[in-house]
């Protein structure tokens, strides 16, 4: 067996030992092992190293206290739900409507209804997900009524980055949007 092939087999030995090789690789290693006692010796050494790694104490991990700490934070960190096709369609429709709004507003007046993604962001913005069954009209009415400005979105997950009205506490804005539970699935302060 040449040096190159031997080194190749030698590199596979640790993964032969942990049982993660493909059937072909495993057969190749076994064939080499039967022909080379040096590789057998390497395998023994690796097995001893493996045992030592397993014997090593994991140390004091946070355990249940860590889970309790997470429990407090999870309440404020809503999971990002995978958007349904309906939600994506609604987001797309809203995006199309807003694109129209941007075009009209850009021609008409300098007052701000939509701040483009490249523009300077508000001090604190919100991440908002709308319900899959909310219509583009309902979403639009909600945002216009509350003087919210879409900064960016929808993201690949269907999330919109929304600026609260000037002078409004972001936490209060989150509460206001969350109260529109029939339209808004989740709202949180963007970090």
């Amino acid at each position: 067996m040449g040096d190159r092939v031997r080194n190749e087999i030698s590199e596979l030995l640790p993964f032969y030992l942990n049982g993660s090789l493909s059937v072909e690789e495993k057969a190749k290693v076994e064939q080499a092992l039967s022909a080379d006692t040096g590789l057998e010796a390497e395998l023994k050494l690796l097995d001893r190293i493996r045992t030592s790694v397993h014997e090593e104490l994991p140390g004091n991990s946070p355990g249940e206290l860590g889970l309790a700490r997470l429990g407090r934070d999870l309440a404020q960190a809503a999971p990002v739900r995978r958007p349904t096709l309906a939600a994506l369609a609604a987001a797309f429709a809203l995006g199309a409507i807003l694109s129209g709004v941007i075009a009209v507003e850009a021609m008409r007046a300098p007052d701000e209804t939509y701040r483009q993604a490249g523009a300077a962001p508000a001090d604190e913005s919100l991440l908002v997900a709308f319900r899959a069954d909310a219509t583009a009209g309902e979403i639009s009415d909600l945002l216009v009524a509350g003087n919210y400005v879409i900064i960016d979105g929808p993201s690949a997950l269907g999330l919109f980055n929304v600026a609260p009205p000037e002078g409004v506490d972001p936490a209060a804005a989150v509460a206001e949007l969350a109260a529109a539970g029939a339209i808004v699935e989740s709202a949180e302060i963007a970090r």
Binding site: L17, S52, V53, P62
Partner: protein, 192 residues
């Protein structure tokens, strides 16, 4: 210890978390908390900071489970998050990574028989493991404790598969050299 065959269970738990299942999250935490903590401590060597990183990892899993598309196993995905976060801290601290001089071929100065005899002494093996750089130690951890395949380890560490194989190979060479040296000197020689 992580077992290769609990990968499907972790995949399933992450799928449930993607639907907002808090009980699945608790189960996942209990499955992965200890190995993840071990893994992060190996990189940072700081238990308090490692606990904070692990907290962030689980929060990210909770927030992003729905975005996980299954390009890798969920376990690989979670360890990769942990690795990325630990490396961010590591880089921020601007720590210097000690890189051993690695033999490309079997080192002529090593004596496999002596090394294997020394390997019967678990203290000697432990001392040699402690002397490895974090990169090599982590490669051995993922191979022998997590029992990951080399493509999975490559996914966690964000390096090519060939790099993983050669890193584990070099770790073994360094262990061989260290154990030979301990055998030749009665186990008193330090190794770094």
């Amino acid at each position: 210890m992580a077992e290769r065959n609990n990968g499907a269970e972790i995949d399933s738990l992450v799928a449930q978390i993607a639907r907002g299942d808090r009980m699945a999250f608790d189960q996942l935490y209990r499955h992965l908390e200890r190995p993840l903590f071990r893994f992060i401590v190996l990189r940072l060597n700081d238990r308090h900071r490692s606990a904070d990183i692990m907290h962030d990892v689980f929060l990210e899993v909770w927030r992003s489970a729905a975005a996980f598309r299954g390009q890798s196993s969920a376990r690989t995905w979670i360890f990769a998050i942990a690795w990325r976060k630990a490396m961010e801290i590591h880089r921020r601290n601007d720590r210097v990574v000690y890189q051993e001089t690695l033999p490309e071929q079997i080192d002529e100065s090593t004596d496999a028989a002596t090394a294997i005899a020394q390997a019967e002494d678990s203290k000697a093996v432990r001392a040699c493991l402690d002397g490895l750089s974090a990169e090599h130690r982590i490669a051995l951890e993922l191979t022998f404790f997590e029992e990951m395949s080399y493509p999975e380890i490559a996914g966690v560490l964000g390096v090519p598969e060939g790099t993983v194989k050669s890193r584990v190979f070099h770790a073994k060479q360094l262990m061989l050299r260290c154990l030979t040296s301990k055998g030749a000197t009665g186990g008193r020689k330090s190794y770094g």
